[in-house]
């Protein structure tokens, strides 16, 4: 899985943040964890287009009234990041869970890509 972090590509019309991720691979698939604080389930968009997996999330804070920001480290209201998948990953079987601002994606490998022990026949 290649990371296609858009760093100095064409300037984006709206500012966005690149979420931090952990990517772990085991024999049956890949687990991707992404930090998306402030994103609710309906503000999250996960798309697979061909070999590209893209994550997009909108921050929704519960602000009861208009505020003046006195100090802001988070200066955009969107997260965006995309990844290039590879052939052995089954993009149709991706499972996604969002809990406490952490997205957990499980991308299984297609059955034939999972390691098999090859029997050696004695002939």
């Amino acid at each position: 899985m290649r990371d296609t972090k858009p760093n100095n590509a064409s300037p984006a019309p709206t500012p966005f943040m690149v979420p931090q991720v952990d990517v772990v691979e085991d024999s049956s698939g890949i687990t991707l964890l992404a930090d998306l604080p402030g994103v609710k389930k309906d503000g999250l968009d996960i798309k697979v287009d061909g070999q590209t997996l893209s994550l997009e999330g909108t921050v929704a804070l519960d602000a009861p009234q208009p505020f003046d920001a006195v100090f802001a480290e988070v200066r955009a209201s969107r997260y965006r990041r995309s990844f290039t998948l590879s052939n052995e990953l089954d993009s149709a079987a991706i499972d996604a869970q969002l809990k406490d601002g952490v997205l957990r994606l499980r991308i299984p490998k297609v059955a034939e890509a999972q390691p098999r022990r090859i029997e050696v026949r004695v002939g």
Binding site: V23, V24, D35, D62, F67, D68, A69, F71
Partner: protein, 150 residues
Amino acid sequence: MYDSYLSVPSGFLSDLDRMRGDIDSLFGWGGTSRAIRSTGGSTYPAINVGQSPEAVDVYVFAPGIDASRTEVTLDRGVLTISGERASDLPAEAPKTSVHGRERYAGKFRRAVALPDDVDPNQVSATYRDGVLRVNVRRREAAQPKRIAIE
């Protein structure tokens, strides 16, 4: 709504800010004047502070923490948030490889100075969607009053 306050220092200003930061670090200058507790470039968790005449709201962007084991204290006008975020990475195992390790894991502690007129007896904290919101009311006397003309 919240949008205004997420992007208050306008895109242009924050770009300028970053550019100035880049130039400063390039020439070894002291950098721009920042809040003394946020001098680091990327700190976990990130904090936004907003205010209205009635209250000060501190938003702590701390995804994946155990709220019951996170400590929030307000002492002499300084709000401190501390806790620990467990690592989600599996223990070293054969046939498992870690391709990316960007998310913060471990203990954290951050502090922000609040305005002088906050009321330490009226603080509430809620944790939702990975954001801890601490709402501190301001003292009555500090709120603007409309004075009727007789």
